[in-house]
């Protein structure tokens, strides 16, 4: 997964061609840590069709809030610089994320 932060978010996510998934996480968020292996497994499966990024909100709080992310875990998909899909909190399960990816890569 590509590590994104306040410096490269514009280039790696907003300017990117094709769909981009961003995993908003932090080392203090235990549910995020539990989810991360599932997201990595999804990258192995769909990584050729959608770009996978992760953003540690601890050093990028302003950026996260600018993306209207104020809770973890949150998984978003961007297309052409726009957020097109999002799952947060209990809804951010491996099964739901896979369904969201499938919908966005059609």
């Amino acid at each position: 997964m590509v590590q994104v932060d306040k410096v490269n978010f514009e280039e790696e996510v907003l300017q990117a061609k094709g769909p981009v998934l961003v995993d908003f996480w932090s080392t203090k968020c235990e549910p995020c840590m539990a989810l991360l292996p599932d997201v990595e497994a999804l990258e192995a499966k769909y990584g050729d069709q959608i770009k996978f990024c992760k953003l540690n909100v601890l050093e990028n709080r302003r950026l996260a809030i600018s993306q209207k992310v104020l809770g973890l875990p949150t998984i978003c998909i961007y297309k052409d610089g726009e957020k097109v899909a999002e799952l947060t909190k209990d809804d951010a399960t491996a099964a739901n994320i896979e369904a969201m990816i499938k919908e966005q890569i059609q």
Binding site: C29, E30, L35, A64, V69, L70, G71, K89
Partner: protein
Amino acid sequence: MAAEDMKTYDVIIVGGGPAGLSAALYASRSKLSTLVLEKAKPGGQAGTTEWLENYPGFPGGVKGPELMEHFAAQAREFGAEIIKDDVASVDFSGEKKLVCTAGGGQYSASAVILCPGAEPRTLGLPGERELRGKGVSYCATCDGDFFTDLDIVVIGNGDAAVEEAMYLTRFAESVTMIVVHDEGILDATAVIRDRAFKNPKMKWVWNSVVDEIRGDGIVESVIIRNLKTNERTELETNGVFVFVGTVPNTQFLSGAVEMDKRGYIIANEQMETSVDGVYCAGDARVKYLRQVITAAADGAIAAVAAEKYIHEEEGFREMVLAPASPVMVCFWSPTSQESLDFMPAVERIAEARAGSLNLVKIDIYKNQRIAGRYEISAAPSILFFNKGQVCERVQWPTTEEELTLVADRVISGK
């Protein structure tokens, strides 16, 4: 369900919080094959609690996630297997208990220990659901960082609410507690209350409730209603943390075991539920105190009770139900003088018919479950089994002569 898809264990533990991991430690250490099914990271609610001050053995406190990693490691040390999957349904109707997961896993076990725990209760306020993850939160350690130098509101005033609020003052500029009670009154215990009142970042709104959470995309304000004056005021805020107790995660059981009207599982001192071989431990149980230490205690008790159950049932199957030749079972009790006096006669009958009739003695006090299953309420009572089925029943009072006649009738198969 194809038998080859089914994985079989001695014990399946549903939920990997403090109760489930303690049960796993005790079960695996007593050589039972043990599976823990946990939907997220092992640790449960304690795993998202920043700091535990009252878990014995850790002066100065211990981090919740760290303690829970130790719990999990210790259970694994004795061979417990922990699989990450969400239990979708159970079937406790048969002798083998079945558990199916959202991930398509199918498991069976002789005993099941239910430790599904509880999750934060939601209030159902307008805006609460829509703004979840957008400033509405139930997890201080998950989301506290977002609110560095910002203003937040906390709903609730119990121990958990006040402790979490104080944790949030490390980040936030101000934390405003909305409290239903009169000024100065909190549900939190005195030591926590006094600490909170001294914290300069904590603000208090008394006699009030939150009616609504507002915001366009992210939280912008809450509508507070004063219960005495019914006056509604809007308070600008960046976040709303809700700590108003918990609800048990027992929906997946669909009433498979007895619960109270709030959905908490009813279990006795041995953690036995209404279903034989199914136990409950931890926060999902009807109990007085929900803490890591009481969850761990429940787990240990449930595992020991489950182990005893498995061995009793196995023993009964092997000695009474499985043999090809007839078995005479004498239910006795050390407190029944008649049963003690009559036992030599029972033994004489069995000895004279060794090879064609086996004798099994069952203490009804120690084996209340098996006695109950065969409706044995008094000792002595004698049941004859043939190929797993009860074929004759002799009630007290009886005589050696009468029992001899029945025994010979059973052996001759007439």
